[in-house]
């Protein structure tokens, strides 16, 4: 079933047909083009004949790089390709498209999702898992394939967000269990911020819990002015938006805790015991143990801190802090 190595005209390739494209990378192909100029095309792309034209099975970037190197030649560009045999099946095309990329580099999660979704038309989860080393150059567990398929059911925006790192695999898996309107809320939200996986999960958790507690739909909650103001603030970078959003959600999820923590923080700030003395409240304010610490470089600093602590004995605000 080996493909035939031959030279074809670029103009005979239907560049608009991307049915076998897996890679998200529309990255700058400058380096690849430069490599071709230095060393030539090492691995020819694979193409399939279709309606008197060819469509690309594998090597989208290589063909783009080749065109980039030969812009001046307009219609006369030729390229060395593997042309598949006419009896090649759709399943075989799919395998070629996946394996040729997977054996070059590790596929990203977004790419894995695309591949598994396509393979699932021909194989079940168990079969994909069994054949995975030969197709993906790595073993994929059946459960993981199941998760990829679940995420694959999300709207295409999800894949883009996964690709850009705005939506983690775990977060995508979490939202894939939610109803469609809610999914759209999170896809929109994560397209506007940039958060680590744990922060994404926290955001999902808080929103879902606030909505469950208050018996409102996430779609309605999402119209909340405070949240929308944060997300639409063009002056803020996505990282800062994430920080503000998390604070806002924490306040809404834990109003009393938030208020009390703020109060304690303000009280501590108002107690002037010297810059190097640090007062830390008990964790979660559940125990009664406050921690008061200072660091010193020499005896003089030590004395100064002890004197500041002594002065604190008469500090009303310090007393209030312990007696609240």
């Amino acid at each position: 079933m080996s493909d035939c190595l031959c030279e074809i005209n670029i103009s005979d390739i239907d560049l608009t047909d991307e049915r076998y494209k897996i890679s998200f990378s529309n990255k700058d192909i400058g380096l690849l083009a430069r490599s071709f100029r230095e060393t030539g095309l090492i691995y020819p792309p694979i193409v399939m004949p279709l309606n008197n034209k060819f469509i690309i099975v594998s090597g989208f970037n290589r063909i783009r790089a080749h065109i980039h190197n030969n812009k001046v030649h307009n219609n006369g560009i030729k390229i060395l390709v593997y042309e598949t045999k006419p009896d090649t099946t759709d399943y075989q095309y799919l395998l070629k498209s996946i394996a040729s990329l997977a054996f070059q580099r590790q596929l990203t999660i977004a790419e894995l999702i695309i591949c598994v979704r396509r393979l699932y038309q021909f194989l079940d989860k168990q079969q994909i898992a069994k054949k995975s080393p030969a197709i993906f150059n790595t073993e994929l567990a059946e459960g993981f394939i199941g998760d990829l398929l679940t995420i694959a059911d999300l709207p295409d925006t999800a894949l883009e967000l996964i690709h850009t790192g705005n939506l983690s695999f775990k977060s995508a898996k979490r939202i894939s269990l939610l109803e469609k309107n809610t999914v759209m809320v999170f896809l929109d939200l994560f397209s506007k911020i940039h958060a680590s996986q744990n922060k994404q999960l926290e955001i999902i958790l808080y929103i879902m819990e606030i909505c469950a507690r208050d018996a409102i739909k996430p779609k309605v909650f999402y119209t909340n002015k405070e949240i929308q103001d944060i997300l639409s603030d063009e002056q803020k970078d996505p990282g800062l938006k994430t920080k503000d959003l998390r604070t806002c959600l924490f306040e809404q999820r834990f109003p009393i805790i938030f208020k009390t923590q703020q109060k304690v923080k303000e009280k501590i700030t108002s107690i002037k015991l010297g810059n190097s003395i640090k007062i830390s409240p008990p964790e979660n304010l559940d125990s009664q143990t406050y921690s008061i610490s200072f660091t010193v470089k020499n005896y003089k600093e030590f004395i100064a801190n002890v004197q500041n602590l002594n002065a604190g004995l008469e500090n009303k605000k310090l007393k209030e802090l312990f007696n609240q």
């Binding site: 819990e209 125990s287 009664q288």
Partner: protein, 368 residues
Amino acid sequence: MKIDTLFIDKTIPQNLEIDYIISRIAADPQWVENTKTVYDYINDADDPILKAKKTLYITRNKGAVIKACPGTSFYTCCDYTILHTGTFCTMDCSYCILQAYFHPPVLQYFAGLKTLGHSLEKTFRQNKIFRIGTGEYTDSLIWEKISLQPKFLIETFAKQNNCLLELKTKTVNIESILPLDHNEKTVIAWSLNTPDIISSEEKGTASLKARLEAAKLVESKGYKLAFHFDPMVIYPECEIQYKKVVKQIFEYVRPESIVWISIGTFRFMPKLKQIIEKRFKHSTIPYGEFILGLDNKMRYFKPLRIKIYKEIISCIKEYAPNLMVYFCMEDEEVWEKCIGFFPEKEGELGHLLDKSAVKHCSLNSNLL
């Protein structure tokens, strides 16, 4: 929840105790070689917890029959003694920790009243007051409908004077115990909650009114009573609702009949949250303002706990100023701020409860 499957450990001799249970359950007994059969049967279900509630396994207690309550670190414990007579429950409370405690949960009845009697005899011979309860790993009175165990326990405890038996329940299964000669040694205790929480979170339990009517009835038969506001759930206007419950208690029973009232807000092992979310989709109780406590359990934020405790304690004290009210698993700050003192010394809370037990249940006061 109606029991529809009955497994019996093959090593259990078929006697009057077992025949009684078989006669009370509408399911053919299946005698099994080992526990695995039962575990597999339960684990195969889509909802093993629900399945376990309908599956009774009669077996023997392979561990300690009488043991000290484990309590929890960092919070004050009441030095209770657990009589391990069975596990799990037929009712379906969303917050029930037993759902996460057993792997898998199995509704077990520990057969062997004679063995139980022997174990208790040793405790009865000790020169010490014991407060003993069967309601730690199960509901004490779900068994009244199907077994002779509650009757046996009440009559056994009636013959001694250093141990109090507390039967803790959310049922109104009291019919068979009413005529028993309990000699004041048994306290019938009800877990109470607001009607809102009972209807939304305590599936299959008796209503508040039914519980209080049952309390009144056992009181009329000379039984002493206890009430446990545990878990109290914090929700909008819950203070008003909990105070109404307190008021109702004293409309039904006399303060003198109440040995103690315990109070504790909802707390849970973190893994229980997922179980509640999965099994009780409409429940909002996991979405309160919880923090991770020092004992690694989720607890309401302390100022919230203190607020609700203060309200309910002052309400109880209005009706019964001298009634023993205590916290289940709270720390010094909560005790001080809500009750005005803290049983600081080890065993101090236990001693206070022992005193109340002696006073109400005619136990040997020389043992205090």
